[in-house]
Symmetry: none
Subunit: 257 residues, 2 copies
């Protein structure tokens, strides 16, 4: 059993990312929910509300988290250093994507943290959640079980529930089935930026070999992104893939225009 | 797996009892949290706030629960028909009392419901929770794990967490270990043979572009196999990868031996 300081230190690797939040009260309630569970890292993407009196009041004594929040203009920027990006989603989507329950996510995060990986939990707008494009930036999605006829959770409540499951999983206060690898994983997971870089390189190569028509891309890159994100590549694997792409580029004949 | 109507019917045996709540917003947020999880029975003991515009606004579309709430003057009256009374407590008390975690409580409640027992979950005042006398009316206590230095949960957040655990326990949603994708996965997973075929094709291509030396292969193919196996590709994804490899083969210049 870990003590509170150790739990807090472990949970500091988790960013709670709120996208375009419109209600100041939700910012405050989110900060309070995080601090109750020992989380501290809040990231606000293009917030539509400010940290005003209502936010401070709802935060109770957790306003330190509000004042230290990182404010960024885009989700991509928020995710740059994250190795595991988790989107919260109530909606059904067209392309199947890895979907976990909050408890399964706890087990997954608890097994990813000891290797020094950074995790981002991404929460959408009060009105309509995360867009499909935003959901596709996520390695996996988490769905909080709700009544199907009344499924829209308040964003601060959703943050409360996930932070609770993160605390339970990390602290070992409840038994969780850890994902085991037999031995410790040997390389750190790739960051979101590293994975994106590989995917951009792959896309350009596919255009160069006339496999991908940039004017009618269809779902090819979306499906490739999903495939590689599902595997959660480590940095060594990303280097291998980029090495392969570089070698293909080198061996291609010059284009006959 | 129960459907939502059956879950709602089972959870209707659980009363959420709020004692002397002072903030109307918390009444609304509690109603919303309950309805999200399929609970419906709210009991207000001597409420210090009224069901006003703020309560309705925070309830979102769960104001039916507010309007149907039973309002009683005393906790004793609220508990009259309950067979299992559970008090929420953050404070240490002088007399040891049965204390469960929210998850343990879920299991306990799930086993008590089929016998037709009525359950009361009792939540205290925003300022100072439940008194010792009130806690002693409870058969058992539940403690939501929190950071010891910041342990005071907002009452609606505490209700959200317990309602979530009640839903999970009653629905059995966590007992079924499933890998879910949000919607049905659209293509069958690749067979071992199909994955092997793609990897052999990849290996030959890597030899052709002089990326892999067949005489000193090191761990390259082992690591690539592990990467793709981890993602468990479907047949469409394997076809995409093989299509990419075929196109690379086609675009390569003939080897100069």
């Amino acid at each position: 059993m870990m003590d509170d300081a150790a739990i807090r230190a472990a949970l500091a690797a988790i960013d709670v990312v709120m996208v375009e939040t419109t209600h100041a009260g939700n910012l405050g309630a989110a900060a309070r929910a995080m601090k109750n569970m020992g989380l501290s890292q809040l990231v606000l993407v293009n917030p539509q509300a400010s940290i005003d009196d209502e936010a401070i009041a709802r935060a109770s004594r957790a306003d330190d988290i509000l004042h230290q929040a990182r404010i960024v203009p885009s989700l991509t920027e928020a995710l740059a250093n994250a190795s595991l990006v988790v989107g919260t989603s109530a909606r059904s989507r067209h392309i199947p994507w890895p979907l976990l329950s909050p408890r399964e996510l706890g087990a997954r995060v608890a097994s990813a943290l000891p290797a020094g990986n950074r995790i981002a939990l991404v929460f959408g707008r009060e009105s309509n959640g995360l867009s499909n494009d935003e959901l596709q930036l996520c390695h996996l999605h988490v769905h909080i079980p709700t009544d199907a006829d009344y499924s829209s959770l308040n964003v601060a409540q959703a943050i409360q529930l996930l932070c609770y499951e993160m605390r339970l999983a990390v602290s070992g206060e409840e038994l969780t089935s850890h994902q085991a690898w037999g031995v410790e994983w040997d390389y750190p997971l790739a960051t979101h930026e590293q994975l994106d870089g590989m995917l951009r390189h792959l896309e350009q190569t596919l255009v160069d070999i006339d496999f991908l028509d940039p004017n009618t891309p269809k779902q090819l890159m979306t499906r490739l992104r999903r495939l590689y994100q599902r595997a959660a590549p480590d940095q060594m694997e990303i280097n291998m893939l980029r090495g392969m792409l570089a070698q293909i580029n080198k061996r291609l004949p010059p284009r006959s225009e």
